[in-house]
Amino acid sequence: MKNRTFFWFFAPTALAMLLFIAFPIVSIIMQSVFAPHEAILIESENCGPFGCTTETVVDQEAMETLNAERPWGRFAGLEIYTNRGHLATSEVAEAWRTTDSMGAFFSELGDLPFYRAMAFTLTYTFVCTPFLIMLGFAVAVAVNSLHRRVKGLMIFFSLLPMIVPPLIGALVLFWMIDSRGVLGQLVSWMANDPTLSLKASTPLVWISLIVYGVWSSAPFAFVVFYAGLQTVPKDTLESAQMDGATRWQQIRFVVIPHLAPLVTFVALIQLMDNFRVLEPIIGFQAQAHAESLSSFILSDLGGETRQLSSAAATSVLTIIGVAILLSPVLVRTWRDFRGRSH
């Protein structure tokens, strides 16, 4: 295909991505290094029958001209990144100097909102992903051994947790684990503690969110692995059986190596998706116990005062996190590509 033709075919989608994905990245980088102008205050003296009072008011006119001259705001450099709400460099340095053990240092870090969000996001990502891959694989092997008719039905119901909007999936589970819901009562009956509430303690909230994460994404792993199982070479399996391999050995040495590329694929997609976790936190109303980087940005953006600079700084830091997470994959793809072209 000629470059010219390629350009015309590709232009609409490239334009859409340029305007609504590439440009906003530039926009948030700009926003994150500019802070809103500080209010220009003027003192005015009001004299009435009971004497004079001075009051301080915002000079609206001066603010307007200032905003018109410099619409981005006041240049703040990296100030927003290093303040207490984000990387909190001075607090971290302080904690490093004053604490004598790693445990104490990390508990100090846990008091800083950004690090708390980071801790939850990383825990969620790196706990959910292996669990959902294992569950998905187990379900795929089990369903694959069923009768053909039952298989279709099982796939249908297995798709549900994944296909529903994440907010709806989270709500459906949340209503069940409510202390008045059926699962919440079951858990408190098993723990023999009628006052137990899964919503009240931080570790339990984290566990519930991770359970949601595995529940909602295992179907994806299941479907991909199930499709992979249909392509396992039959002769290899048969010769393994001839050689006296047990069932477990067949799975371990024939099936798993065959599915290895799919495991990488599922892990990549799920790491990317889990790192952006947001809806379950909203659905579980868990912001008090668990903030993710995305929900951290959302709470800056929502509310009465939209703290755009703060949200932008967190967004940039999150994107850097995604880039780090994605880099091994990109390096590998790049090597594959180089290897192919030489």
Partner: protein, 294 residues
Amino acid sequence: MESSGVDRRPLSLKIGLWIFVGIWFVIAAFPFFWTVWGSFKVELDFFSIADWTNAIFGRNTEATHGSPFTLAGYEGAFIQEEFWRNAINTLIVCVCVVTVSLTIGTLGGYALSRSGKKYVFWFLIIALMFRALPQVALVSGYLPIFFDWNVWGYLPTAIIVLVAINQPFTLWMLHSFFESIPKDLDEAAMVDGCTQFQAFRHVIIPVMWPGVITTGLFSFLLAYNDFIVTTMILNEGNRTMIPQIAAFLGTTYTEGNVMFAVAAVVSATVPLFILVMFFQRQIVSGLTAGAVKG
């Protein structure tokens, strides 16, 4: 695997497998059945402190409404809170997003699969990176500009943003479907005097229908399931279903009308249930398209 293994599988293994599949079935499907059943009850039954079997038999519902089933939640959501408006907005958004996404996505995906130049690799890698970006980070980039231009709050804005944000995914999926169509087909058409666009339009698209339908399904799901874009960009009057459900939670917990939210959640799930019923094969093939074909 199945044909060779079935007969020789010991009974204990068979039973174990059946139990495991049964447990998974309950984990996957039971929450939905429970919520659907509970949506026809009053709140005291759905959240029952006294006795959990109330949620099954609806004793409080019978006491209030004279029957163990009531449509009160649905009436509250659809008539009092006018949830049908949100449903219509969702329909508009989904139809527009699917149409625009597929139009520009098929053109782009076709170009990527037929070019053979080195830059194609880079476009695909950039698309992959774009797909990994947290959407909420992008939305925080739009907001000040949308406010300045006075386009915040309207359906077309949300539609354009949703199309653009989901374009990387659409491109990857369509690219892998186009790759599976032999290149000789459009080359032959062009030898016969077609332009590249005519070859695309009259030769490739007719054989691409399965891929287009599958990708369309996923565009639909992405638009339907979206929470961030619709919540942050639409104003109160233009909300689609998902942000409205989130809004129910904010207001109804205090009013004690959580059943509105339950009814709304069930109503928003039903179309997806039907969709999966009819298009299960396409959804499965779409999920695996990227993986199996590499």
